[in-house]
Amino acid sequence: MTSHKLANYLRAYRKRSGLSQSEVAYLLGCKNPAQVSRYERRRHMPPLRTALAFQAALGTPLSELYAGTYESVAKQVTARAQTLTVELQTRTPKRGKTLIPYKLQWLAERCIPQALRKY
């Protein structure tokens, strides 16, 4: 039984807009409407330009269109940010000591969710 987010919500947002696959393909600049179907069914991952075109065409941010993928990527980044924080705290550099607190603050504010912060 799964209750995680789907890897992408392209079909849901496209159907909500009322556009057909071939119309979206035209907006994206794809020659073949079947390509849109492949993106929707998670057979293929679109290149960056096409992904941004999806965002522009459907008026929804990529993090919502690819909610499941974004969630898993964000989780990995958070885990790496925690590791990096520990590494930075133990690091004793010869130069640029003032930069370390700035980096730690950045990581804490942007990359690590509130619940996982230790300080």
Binding site: M1, T2, S3, H4, K5, L6, Y9, R11, A12, K15, R16, G18, R41
Partner: protein, 173 residues
């Protein structure tokens, strides 16, 4: 993880030669909807119903499948129901049966007929407005798109049934 109120469900309305489906993520968010038909004759659909059910389950991995409880049904429809249950067991997805009364209770103000329920659904879920068929004339057969609304009604009823607190159990002295 999804919030418990954003549970993803697949509501299916079974007919003898087709089925309508709606995928919900929470009570107000629709992910997909449509009709899969199994025509006979020249334009016959050769893909069996079980494969179509499996495709939907693979694509959306719902946590529950909601189907209407059927009392009297044709052999074909019973076969479809069996195929659905078999696929659900394979995918380890529970199947929830809802009676007609539960569905009607979810639409208190508009429980006159199917069309009134469909109109209420179109108001509640504006994505479905383009699929709303015109009022049925008595000499016409039912529009095939009506099964989308029947499936959507099942989904809405499922969520409202879950939200309704159960009456306290009677204490027998």
């Amino acid at each position: 993880m999804l919030h418990p109120n954003e549970k993803r469900i697949l509501a299916i309305d079974l007919r003898s030669r087709s089925f309508g489906f709606v995928v919900f993520e929470g009570p107000t968010r629709l992910l997909d909807w449509g009709v899969r038909s199994f025509r006979q004759g020249i334009n016959a659909v050769k893909i069996p119903a079980s494969l179509k059910f499996a495709g939907l389950m693979d694509e959306f991995s719902p946590s529950t499948i909601v189907v209407r409880k059927g009392s009297v049904e044709s052999r074909k429809k019973a076969g479809m129901r069996q195929a659905l249950v078999t696929q659900a067991e394979k995918h380890r997805i529970p199947v929830r049966l809802l009676s007609r009364r539960v569905v009607k209770n979810a639409f208190v103000g508009s429980n006159r007929n199917k069309y009134a329920i469909a109109v209420a659904l179109a108001k509640q879920l504006p994505e479905l407005v383009p699929k709303l068929p015109s009022v049925r004339k008595i000499w016409k057969s039912e529009d095939y798109r009506m099964s989308i609304f029947d499936a959507a009604a099942l989904g809405v009823a499922y969520f409202s049934h879950r939200r309704t607190p159960r009456p306290p159990a009677r204490v027998v002295v």
